[in-house]
Amino acid sequence: MTALDSLRETFRRDQVFDFMRQGTRPVLPGQVDAGKNILYLEDITVSFDGFKALNDLTLYIKTGELRCIIGPNGAGKSTMMDVITGKTRPDSGTCFFGQTLDLTRMSETDIATAGIGRKFQKPTVFPEHTAFENLELAMNAPKGAWHSLFSQLSGEQRDWIEQTLATVGLLDDRDKVAGLLSHGQKQWLEIGMVLMQKPQLLLVDEPIAGMTRQEVERTGELLKSLAGEHSVVVVEHDMEFIRSIASTVTVLHQGSVLAEGTMQQVQNDPKVIEVYLGE
């Protein structure tokens, strides 16, 4: 029986031999073989000492889509991001970027190079570098050590950085050390860094915390404008904000998908109401 199983495994139709598989090494950015969907999460389970942070999570993100993910605390939103970006390895399940890249077998670096950018919940920038340098470091360019030693910024690259600085409203603070920026500015800077990576897929974790009303609107605009060319996944608590940008909303609860649909549909879903409002 087991021999039969392993034979079956060897000759599975959806899979070539292990050693021929792509995906253990990253391809260059832009080579993601994205079809209709760009991200496939299937049956992902992650447990910490018996506690299941993700429980058989299955989720697909369409190419060019703007997807919002909501859910109460502990629903597994951040863990899901961790799995996608390679920070956490799932206990079981598959996670493919495009058709060929198996994210569960790639390092964080390879995943970032392959075209997934992430903005963290707590803004993480390089505190001792200026805003300009932060963007320069994040820029989509060769990232080897020897290359960095000899690298010089070209005029085009400089323009591009400055353009991005303008986009995130930090042109005036370009030479300010990032550690001294306000919370909102750090959020913007991090978004700018993610943009500089030219990712295919953006993961944005609570982007508007600490922002003013106006900034929130601008963030919404920015995210909406990004969708289409990029695929964007936004995790947020603020329902107002989500309503203003959302096309499709996914509700996570206890590590798996509870509901999916437009904001309208989700809000009227009795299961969602129960989870959010209690009995």
């Binding site: 970032a112 505190p127 470091l137 960095s148 690298s151 030479d175």
Partner: protein, 381 residues
């Protein structure tokens, strides 16, 4: 925005000042040593020349540590090991240069091997009688050890305190190993009784002066190299790794490669420092591997101030000068002073001497300019 190449690093202001001061001091000492007779008040003794050479080697070692600790956040408690390995490579060359002038007069075997009744040279002692090969070893052995060790450590993301402790274990293990006679490096006594280097007698004053100048040049070149590295994009990535490693990873940098790169370069610099150190002090023994040495080195950098490069150099010279003075005047008190230094610097002066100066510089400047302002206004009145 600093975007340095080796050339800009050579010509930037800090480097110019540093090299200027370094060479001026060296030249002054050398001239005073050579021009004035021994009984003159201005004479600098050969002992002082050698002492200065020693300090410069320590400064180079401190520079190497600052590169990994100050810029990359890797607190290595085993950098003394790379220093000692460089020193041993040089010591092996010097040992072979003794030839048949040793106590036992054996033309190929160093004295300690004759003493241990060894019949032939161990394989790893072959070739070190050529200077170029020894020089290669000085660069390769510490570099290779750092590369292998770093590759294992950084790849599996050993960081922070754990890394510090295993680097300490590394130098401790090496110390135990080098204490063994069977290893073929002279055991307890190490390598000593050197006669000459490239044909110049190590006892001669001119050789000592030459070694001092060589140390100064090595330090200057290393300084410029470090300026270049830290000013380049690589330096900025390294700094980013120090401050937010996981962010750097999510931006797409292989942080372990960067760490490994810096760690290896730093180890090679430490090895060069050791190689210059050994002919000046005339001995290398396993004591150099002692964890205490490595950790003392850390305090030089901490006293001088991290992540400034020149701070490390200043720290190394200040602390070692203090050590020379203290051990001369009241030897018992030195360890108290050193211990106190560790505590005071970490608790009250985390930025070190240069940090204190830098913090107070604007105030100082303001006070100075206010004084001049007042003077001018007084003048007007």
């Amino acid at each position: 925005m600093r975007h340095s190449t080796f050339k800009t690093a050579l010509t930037d202001r800090t480097a110019r000042h540093f090299i200027g001061v370094l060479f001026a001091a060296t030249l002054l000492a050398v001239l005073c040593n050579q021009l004035f007779p021994a009984d003159s008040a201005l004479h600098v003794s050969s002992y002082t020349i050698t002492l200065m050479g020693k300090y410069l080697c320590y400064a180079l070692l401190a520079l190497a540590l600052d590169l990994v600790w100050g810029y990359c956040g890797i607190l290595s408690l085993g950098h003394g090991a790379f220093f000692a390995l460089g020193g041993y490579a040089m010591g092996m060359y010097l040992m072979r240069q003794i030839g048949d002038r040793g106590v036992y007069g054996n033309p190929t075997l160093p004295d300690f091997m004759v003493f241990l009744n060894w019949k032939e040279l161990p394989w790893y002692w072959h070739g070190v009688d050529h200077f170029w090969f020894a020089a290669l070893l000085i660069l390769l052995v510490p570099g290779l050890l750092a590369f292998v060790f770093g590759w294992l450590a950084f790849r599996s993301r050993v960081t922070g305190v754990y890394l510090s402790i295993i680097t300490q274990a590394l130098t401790y293990a090496l110390m135990l190993a080098f204490f063994r006679n069977e290893l073929g490096f002279g055991g307890n006594n190490g390598l000593t009784d050197f006669k000459d280097l490239l044909g110049f007698s190590l006892q001669a004053d001119s050789t000592r002066v030459g070694l001092l100048i060589a140390s100064a040049v090595a330090l200057a070149v290393a300084f410029v190299l470090c300026r270049w590295i830290t000013g380049s994009k690589l330096g900025r990535v390294v700094l980013a790794v120090r401050d937010a490693e996981s962010r750097a990873r999510f931006v797409g940098y292989r942080t372990e490669h960067y760490k490994l790169w810096v760690f290896t370069v730093s180890a090679i610099l430490a090895g060069i420092a050791g190689a210059l150190y050994v002919p000046q002090v005339g001995i290398i023994n396993p004591g150099e591997f002692s964890p205490l040495n490595s950790i003392e080195l850390v305090v030089w950098v901490a006293v001088g101030g991290r992540a400034t490069l020149y701070g490390a150099v200043i720290g190394a010279i200040v602390v070692n000068y203090g050590k020379t003075v203290f051990t001369g005047l009241m030897p018992e008190a030195w360890l108290f002073a050193l211990g106190g230094l560790f505590v005071l610097v970490t608790v009250f002066m985390p930025q070190g001497l240069t940090g204190v100066v830098q913090q107070n510089w604007p105030k100082l400047k303001a006070r100075l300019s206010r004084n001049t302002d007042q003077e001018t206004s007084n003048d007007c009145a």
